[in-house]
Every structure is written in C-alpha cells, then in structure tokens.
C-alpha cells in the first residue's frame, strides 16, 4: 500500500474513533436517568471549614496545595543547578529571562533586580493557578473572584510602594498633579478602575473557560471537552502574561513618572 493511502487511512480511523467516542458519550448521557447538576454549583467553591469568622473554601485548599507543589518543585530544581544547564534548568532560565525581558521593556533596565522577585512571583503564581484545573481532582483558584482581587490589590499597593521608593514621598505625590491640579481626580479614578479591570479580566476569562468546559462535560463527558481544555492552556498562559505585562506597565508608570521632566 502506498504511504499516502496509509496516512489517509489512519486519519479516517482517528476521526471515526473520535466520532464513535462522542456518540457513546452522548448515548451514555441520554440513557442515564440522573439529574444533571446545575453549572453554577460545579463552578462555585465549596465551604470546607470555618475558623471563627473566616470561611475556608476549597479555593484556599487548592491554593495551599499549589503553593506546596511550587515550593517543593522550586527547591528540587534549585538544588540541582549546574553551570551547564540540563533540560529542566534551561526551561526555568528561559522563564526567568522572559520575565526579565518584560521588566526591562516596561519598567527599565536599571535596578531590574528590585522588581524581578515580585513580578516573577505574580507571573508564576497566576500561570500555575490557571493551569491547575487541568489536574484531575483539583480546581483553579482563579475562577473564584477572591484570588484575582487579591492579586490586583497586590499590584495596587506595589505601585505607590515602588513609586515612593524611587522618587520619595513628595516626588511620587507630585505626579498626581503633574501638568495641572485638575488631573488629580482622573488619576485617582484610573488607579481604582485599573485595579477592577485587572482583577475582572483574569476572573472573567478563566471563569468563562471553566463554564464552557463544565457545559461540555454535562453534554458529552468523554472526549468532547478535550479540545476546549487544550485551548484553556493557551488562555491561561496568555492571561498570566497579560497580567504580568499590565502590572509591569503600571509599576513602570509610577517609577518612570518624572524622568522626562528631570532630563
């Protein structure tokens, strides 16, 4: 048999297999007589236990698991660092260099080591927490509104911290009224609005993805959600990149505030 025909045959076999799996999953769904769970219940975090007035939800448990995994992985990788990097070390160094590139482009190359730890932490935390839902049994912490709001609040407080650290208190406060005094309410409104948009962008993207996957699971649970889950890897990494980029732009706006008037 010629090679081309063989390839076509394999392709057709794969397509038929996928269609058969989808049909089986559809028929499983229609023959079973259990009530499909509402989508909202599947997405919403469960209450695990309460400590006084604080409610500990499954989001927090998943975040702890993720932090443990990240810390242990970082310890294992950091223990085996060599001068001549292996495959894993190459990947980690590529990630660090990519984050340093974002910082250099948006904040500035001088003392970029000051910004690197916090920006890299944000990037890795958000990226891994977006991808955590792909592990069976675990759920992403980001579709819960509390996690993106916490991340955005970190950026909200980092901006004046780095601004005051670079320009001093008076120098930082002066950029609110930079050309004229009328800019003050606009600047304050934009600081609040960008915190909202930063948190809602992450939350809405990941939540929309999770809802689509949950609906596909309700319709056809076996193979139909897989392409959407593959797409959710792309969305999660892209959202982590955009969050990092935007927080770098905001920090850069505070740090570079007076460079044009000084020089």
């Amino acid at each position: 048999m010629p090679r081309k025909n063989k390839q076509t045959l394999t392709l057709i076999l794969v397509v038929v297999l996928i269609i058969a799996m989808a049909a089986i999953s559809f028929s499983l769904r229609s023959s079973g007589d259990y009530e499909p769970e509402p989508v909202a219940d599947e997405i919403a975090p469960d209450l695990v236990f309460t400590v006084g007035p604080i409610q500990v939800t499954s989001t927090v448990i998943n975040t702890w698991i993720m932090i443990g995994m990240l810390g242990f992985g970082a310890y294992l990788i950091g223990k085996t660092f060599k001068v001549r990097p292996g495959m894993l070390q190459n990947a980690v160094e590529w990630l660090a260099e990519a984050i340093q590139g974002i910082i250099a482009q948006n904040i500035g190359t001088e003392n970029s080591n000051l910004f690197f730890p916090v920006v890299a932490t944000l990037a890795i935390f958000i990226g891994v927490s977006n991808l955590l839902g792909l592990i069976p049994g675990l759920h992403s912490p980001t579709p819960d509104i509390n996690t993106p709001v916490a991340m955005a609040l970190v950026v909200f407080f980092l901006v004046p911290y780095f601004g005051i650290r670079t320009h001093g208190l008076w120098g930082y406060l002066k950029h609110y009224v930079d050309p004229i005094f009328l800019m003050l309410p606009i600047e304050i409104a934009s600081e609040i609005a960008r915190t909202f948009s930063l948190s809602f962008r992450l939350f809405g993207n990941i939540l929309g993805e999770e809802i689509i996957i949950a609906i596909l699971f309700l319709i056809a649970p076996i193979i139909v959600p897989v392409p959407m889950m593959l797409f959710s890897i792309f969305t999660g990494v892209l959202q982590a990149y955009i969050f990092t980029l935007l927080s770098c732009v905001y920090i850069g706006g505070a740090v570079k505030a007076h460079q044009s008037t000084k020089s």
Partner: protein, 94 residues
C-alpha cells in the same frame, strides 16, 4: 389588568434570559470590531517596519487585553444576571 397578581417570578426569569442573549451579542460584537482594528493596524505596522516587531507586539497585546476586558465586563454582568442575581431573593422570595 391587576398589577398585584401578575406572575412576577416567571416574568423575572423570562426577562433575565431575554436580556442575557442580546446583551452578550452586543457586548462581544463591539469589542471584537475594536480588537480587529487594533490587530489590523498592528499587522500593518509590523509589515512596514519588521525590526520594530517586538515593541509593536507588546503594545498590540496590551491594547487587545484592554479591549477584551470590556467583553469580560459584559460576561460578568450576564453571569451575575443569570446565575447570581442579587434581586432573585427579593423577587422570587427566599
């Protein structure tokens, strides 16, 4: 027409669903046009000056993210309307 005996719970659910569909259509179409314009001009700029590609790329991604957040706002509002409406307990009772 007796305004006190209307089936307000059914009307509430119907109105919510009727608003959700056109709302998501309107809220996605308009940012999509904006994102298309941004992507188009970014592509034009890169094809004119390929050596500035990295800088243009990050700016294009930034503006796409800004525009996308508009669609996300609509999505959040629609999700709240359909799944977690704060008026639900007021209209439907407990």
């Amino acid at each position: 027409m007796d305004w006190n005996t209307l089936p307000y719970d059914k009307i509430f659910v119907i109105v919510t669903v009727l608003v959700a569909g056109p709302g998501i259509i309107a809220g996605i179409t308009v940012p999509a046009i904006g994102q298309a314009i941004v992507a188009l001009s970014g592509l034009k700029a890169i094809s004119r000056q390929p050596e500035a590609g990295d800088k243009i790329n990050s700016i294009v991604l930034l503006s796409l993210a800004m525009l996308e957040s508009l669609a996300i706002y609509v999505l959040a509002v629609i999700l709240i309307l359909v799944f977690a409406n704060p008026m639900r307990s007021f209209i439907l009772g407990s």
